[in-house]
């Protein structure tokens, strides 16, 4: 039976791991390759490395980091941040990444999704969606949550699905960094309306939150950062717990 996936996410700035709370106030948390290898050994099912450096220099540093990750780590990993065109995808896949995650660039140029799927296969294309629950419903945001768009979560997610994305990584900005659980209602609605896997992101604080997002949120995978980086939740214990709760995980 296909296992539910646990995915630690590493935000990278100038080659180092950082993690913000509610998308601001970055804190330092270790060397990405060492951290990634430790997670892999502890039983993480995949890794996500997000480059939050915008500069050209930073991008080169990140590509070098992707090569080091590919050389050292034997589980699949996704990279994101600063991917605007096919040549960026090609560069990162050639450096050894298994998948790329696009966010703002997909909203600005939705055709990029079709192009990635056509050139490299759907499985390579993860579309990340940052959305916030507002009076008008779930609205999508750009640029790490700084710019509101006119797109609504469910319509955009369906479009992304139809254009050939392989997975959707949905981050609830209301839940991110708050540690009170994932946005399970919105996640379940997404999961029911899509034909591709949904990765839950934003809100993990306790082990129960992972169980809830797999059951109530119908998520295929759950992503978290700070609870793992600061050792508040240990992956082997989390997986044992999920197994005891009847959730199929890789042990």
């Amino acid at each position: 039976m296909l296992a539910k996936r646990i995915i630690p996410c590493l935000d990278i700035k100038d080659g180092q791991t950082v993690k913000g709370t509610n998308f601001v106030n970055l804190r330092q948390a270790g060397d990405p390759v060492e951290l990634g290898r430790a997670y892999s050994e502890q039983g993480a099912d995949e890794l996500v490395f997000l480059d939050i450096t915008a500069s050209h220099e930073g991008r080169k540093t990140f590509t070098d980091l992707v090569k080091r990750v590919a050389a050292n780590i034997s589980i699949p990993f996704t990279v994101g941040g600063g991917i605007n065109e096919l040549s960026d995808v090609d560069r990162l896949l050639s450096a050894g990444a298994d998948k790329v995650s696009i966010n703002s660039s997909a909203i600005r140029n939705p055709n990029l999704i079709d192009e990635i799927a056509k050139h490299f296969g759907s499985q390579v294309c993860v579309v990340a969606i940052d959305a916030k629950q507002t009076d008008q419903g779930w609205k999508c945001y750009l640029n790490g949550g700084r710019v509101e768009t006119d797109k609504y979560l469910s319509e955009w997610a369906r479009e992304v699905n139809n254009r050939g994305a392989g997975e959707i990584l949905f981050t609830s900005m209301n839940h991110d960094g708050v540690k009170t659980g994932y946005a399970n209602k919105a996640l379940a609605t997404l999961s029911d309306s899509l034909t591709i896997p949904v990765i839950a992101s934003g809100g993990a604080g306790k082990m129960e939150h992972f169980k809830d997002t797999f059951i109530e949120g119908k998520a295929d995978a759950a992503l978290a950062a700070s609870v793992f980086h600061f050792g508040e939740i240990k992956i082997p214990e989390l997986k044992q717990y999920l197994c005891q709760q009847g959730i199929n995980v890789r042990l």
């Binding site: 296909l2 034997s74 589980i75 298994d98």
Partner: protein, 196 residues
């Protein structure tokens, strides 16, 4: 020992190379006929589309080379599918090493998403690739097409239906999953292949 990785227009050849390096093996990545034929072991990896890839192999005469190899060959993912007779992906005539066809997954319930992506278990393993296995191990899959169970099935996995997650016939071995991305279990499978 000389290990060759077949180089062609497919992605993710480097992942295999990295995995071999982690095992201390320096492989030759090549599309050169002589080099392939003189290698001790050959890995035929692949991420891509079946019909396009078969055309490429035919144009470069790699199809005849691969079919006629006598040393141990390991096909991975698309590599395994191309070693079969025919694929529904692009209605492609393939290499015909394994006398079986490759079919597209048809979801039966809404929760059956295609591609089959993530970690799933190997059952009924019967091949030296899985030497030392004591339980149903998890390995990493990404694919939309599958090989039904057949006389060459060396491991099976269930997703929508039970299908062949590994094949074996004479010197030809193949896995639908990615051993190069399957953590320590994958490393064990690669090492088992290198030790054949």
């Amino acid at each position: 020992m000389k290990i060759a990785v077949v180089k062609y227009n497919a992605g993710n050849i480097y992942s295999v190379d990295y995995a071999l390096k982690r095992l201390g093996v320096e492989a030759i990545i090549t599309s050169d006929k002589e080099t392939l034929m003189s290698a001790d072991k050959i890995i035929f990896p692949g991420v891509g589309e079946a019909a396009t890839t078969m055309n490429y192999l035919r144009q470069h005469k790699l199809d005849e080379v691969i079919k006629n190899l006598k040393q141990p060959v390991l096909g991975i993912c698309l590599g395994m599918q191309l070693m079969c007779r025919h694929s529904e992906e692009g209605n492609a005539e393939c290499l015909g090493i394994f006398d079986t066809d490759v079919k597209l997954f048809h979801p039966e319930r809404h929760t059956d998403k295609v591609p089959h992506m993530g970690w799933n278990t190997l059952t009924n393993v019967k091949s030296d690739l899985f030497k030392g296995f004591t339980k149903e191990e998890f390995v990493y899959f990404v694919h939309s097409f599958y090989v039904p169970l057949n006389e060459f099935t060396a491991a099976q996995t269930t997703y929508i239906l039970p299908y062949s997650s590994a094949l074996h016939k004479d010197n030809f071995y193949a896995t639908q999953f990615h051993p190069e991305k399957s953590g320590t279990v994958g490393e064990r499978i690669l090492r088992n292949f290198l030790e054949l």
